[in-house]
């Protein structure tokens, strides 16, 4: 039977997605490698994986990609799994390519689908921020590594696998070349967009800082808060506390109005709870339209002021 190793950062939904993707490849023996997990976390993983290998962390330490790569490289080289799976998260970006290079394995990054054809691993991945999809293939005869986009795969069902739990013996390696100094939490902003029922999210389509006014004015008419994409924060036009996405806030409003937002997975990763999603974008092929409930293809500079006017008129 083929063995697959999932490298699990934290015991959460992404771990179940790795399990589900692995099981979809046929009869496999599935191991989870996890770092510094508590007993409860290991027990939870053992319900989905055939084997759980817990790599101990020294007291106070957190998951660190450089440390994980050092610990995993010799272990994986000895175990020789058919496939190594990780999530395409920030930590995944830090660890997966390094691991692939050290183990000299082909790597498929940020996969939306995964398949197996003889000894070849196939995947679907996105190009150009989601405007194009590509079917790609790698020869997996000597093993391969793939990272999976969070949320793109279903989570595994709870069949209790009764996995064996072990603690890995990590030989003392050379001193770490990268050392943790501190962890910094996101600054709390003056507004909390996570509590808003209606969010008006603005993206790079707004073009200039001055133009934000039309969006702010629309938000006021809707009693909504203004949210935004990352490029707006990068330019310091709005504070970080208004950024929605995988490196910003997770929000779950009732209504989400996306204006001049292309709909990257990093942005949409922060939009939870299936709000009523309206998108205004002049590009009919923008990925946001694939997930929106209602779309308006047009120029935001015409549509946004008009929308505000009609909303105010209706309110009376």
């Amino acid at each position: 039977m083929r063995t697959i190793m999932a490298i699990v950062e934290v015991v959460d939904e992404t771990a179940l997605e790795l399990a589900h993707a692995a099981r979809s490849l046929g009869e496999v023996h599935l191991t989870a490698a996890v770092f510094g997990a508590e007993d409860a976390g290991c027990a939870e993983l053992a319900r989905y994986f055939d084997r759980v290998v817990n790599f101990p962390l020294s007291p106070g330490a957190v998951f660190d990609a450089e440390h994980a790569a050092a610990a995993l490289t010799p272990w994986l080289a000895a175990e020789q799994p058919f496939l190594i799976l990780l999530s395409h998260t920030n930590n995944g970006l830090d660890l997966a390519p390094l691991l692939a290079a050290r183990l000299d394995l082909p790597m498929l990054a940020d996969c939306l689908e995964l398949g197996l054809r003889d000894e070849q691993l196939t995947a679907v991945r996105t190009l150009y921020a989601g405007k194009v999809h590509a079917r790609v293939v790698a020869d997996a005869k000597g093993g391969a590594l793939a990272t999976l986009r969070p949320g793109a795969f279903d989570g595994d069902e709870a069949i209790d696998r009764g996995g064996r739990i072990e603690t890995a013996a990590v030989p003392p390696g050379p001193p770490a070349r990268r050392r943790l100094l501190e962890t910094v939490a996101a600054e709390a902003g003056s507004v909390d967009i996570t509590q808003a029922e209606i969010l008006v999210a603005v993206g790079r389509g707004i073009e200039e800082q001055e133009n934000l006014e039309i969006v702010q004015s629309l938000a006021a008419a809707l009693d909504a808060e203004v949210a935004c994409t990352r490029p707006i924060v990068d330019k310091n036009w709005l504070p970080k506390s208004r950024q929605v996405g995988t490196s910003g806030q997770s929000v779950s409003p009732k209504v989400y109005l996306a204006i001049g937002v292309s709909g990257s997975f990093q942005h949409l990763g922060g939009v939870k709870g299936k709000p009523f999603l309206v998108a205004i974008n002049q590009d009919a092929a923008a990925p946001i339209f694939a997930v929106a409930d209602v779309g308006v293809v047009g120029d935001l500079f015409d549509l946004v002021p008009l929308l505000e006017e009609k909303i105010r008129a209706r309110k009376g």
Partner: protein, 268 residues
Amino acid sequence: MNIIVCIKRVADTSEAEIVIQRGGQGLEEEDFAWGINEWDNFAVEAAVQLKEQHGGVVTAMTLGGEDDEEVLRRALAMGCDEAVHLCDEAFAGADAWGIAKALAAAVRGRSYDLLLCGAVSGDAGGGQVGGFLAGLLDLPLVALATCLEVGSGNGGTGGVARVRHEVESGLERVVEVDLPAVVTVQTGINEPRYVSIRGIRKVAGAEVQVLDGAALGLQAAELGSAGARVRLEELFLPPRGEGAEVLEGSDEEIVQRLVEMLHQRGGL
């Protein structure tokens, strides 16, 4: 403080119509606007700022076709000192692994403290090349840097950098990393300087070192599509799935409908 910064010229397709060529192996590129990869622009700025503080030499490096020299000129105009163009027809069809192997070959033997990449490229978007380079060159890696400071560093003989970088759940961590190291740069780390046409013209005469596969000591089997570990089978347009209900009509009509929908379905 010597720095090598890897940059890529990519098409900005955010407003372009996508037409896939018959056979599914490429895109019609006429309408595309080309430029430096967004993340790499921040990486170049970071490199130039470090040089301005600490002295040293910044080398911009790209692997790509002849037209891609344009991004090297742009990097020179931003303040990079040297430009290296890995250019060879045999590189065509290279995957991230092939790109990293060629870049690693070009970097070996140079003296540097930092090797900077963008976090991801806007076209391929795998976020792999930086990590591959760290693995191939046996250097420590820090991905997704949002702040980068160096203590000392003198041409690859030691020193440390302090790097803040994004991890999960909106958290960032500050790490100290031994130099030389590979750091991948996230957007927002700085405000990239403006590049004027005049600035580009000023560097028009600057030398760009061109290296082909042979100069890098690479075999034909390692290059381009021949050496690719990940092969493209087919490009296709994303399935629309359920997709949005797209409102049609005049702006007046559309907006009127939208207001009603916001009330009915959005519960306004």
